[in-house]
Symmetry: C2
Subunit: 116 residues, 2 copies
C-alpha cells in the first residue's frame, strides 16, 4: 500500500498552518472534516474547484500537518489532525473554524467561488 508523507506533530510549523488556513477553500475542507465523521474521501467534498485544484488543496493541508491522508483502494481518505493541532497550537483551529462556521455555506463559499 502506498503511503503519503506527513509531518510529525513536533514538525508542524505555525507559518505553514496559518498559510494553509488563509485559503477559504481549504477552510471549507477543514470545516467539513471537523463537522463530519473521521474518514472522508476527497470525492465526498462538494468544492467549487476542479479536481486538480482540489487535489492541490488537500496536499497543502497534509503537508502543513492539518489533515492526514491515506489510501483505501484507489480513494484517498482524509482525517483532521485536530487533537495534534490542539496540542501544538491550543485554540488556533477552534478560533479559525468559529469564524467560518458563522458564514459557512454563504459568504465563505461565495467568496471562494468568486476567486476561481
Amino acid at each position: 500500500m502506498r503511503s503519503l508523507p506527513h509531518p510529525d506533530v513536533q514538525e508542524i510549523a505555525l507559518d505553514q498552518v496559518l498559510s494553509a488556513l488563509a485559503d477559504p477553500i481549504r477552510r471549507v475542507i477543514v470545516s467539513q472534516l471537523a463537522g463530519g465523521h473521521d474518514d472522508q474521501a476527497c470525492i465526498a467534498f462538494d468544492l467549487p474547484v476542479t479536481k486538480s485544484t482540489s487535489t492541490h488543496h488537500f496536499r497543502v493541508l497534509r503537508e502543513a500537518g492539518i489533515i492526514s491522508q491515506r489510501y483505501r483502494g484507489t480513494a484517498i481518505l482524509n482525517c483532521l489532525r485536530d487533537e495534534e493541532l490542539a496540542e501544538r497550537f491550543p485554540g488556533l483551529l477552534d478560533a479559525v473554524l468559529a469564524e467560518d462556521s458563522e458564514v459557512q455555506g454563504t459568504t465563505a463559499t461565495a467568496a471562494a467561488a468568486r476567486r476561481l
Copy 2:
C-alpha cells in the same frame, strides 16, 4: 497631516489576517506590539530585515487590519488593533501569540533570519 488607509473592523478578512500572520517577522512585530506600550515607532523594532522590507511588513499588517499606523511628525507610530481583532475573531490572536511567545527570541527569530 497625512493619514494611512485602514480597513474598518467589519472589513477585516480572515484570509488576509491569517496570511499576514503566517510570516514570522510579522509575528515578531505583533508580539512586540502586544507586549509593549500602545504606540511604538517603526524604528523602535529590532528586526533582522532591511528598512524597505520592514516597511512592507508593517504595511501588510495595517492593510490586514492587524495594526494601525499614524504619523507623528516624520515617524510612523504603530498600534495593535487587539480589541477589534478579538471582537472579529475571538481567540485567534491569543492562539497565534501564545505559540510564538514560547519560542520568541530563539527559534522564531532564527527561523525568520534564515529566510532572509
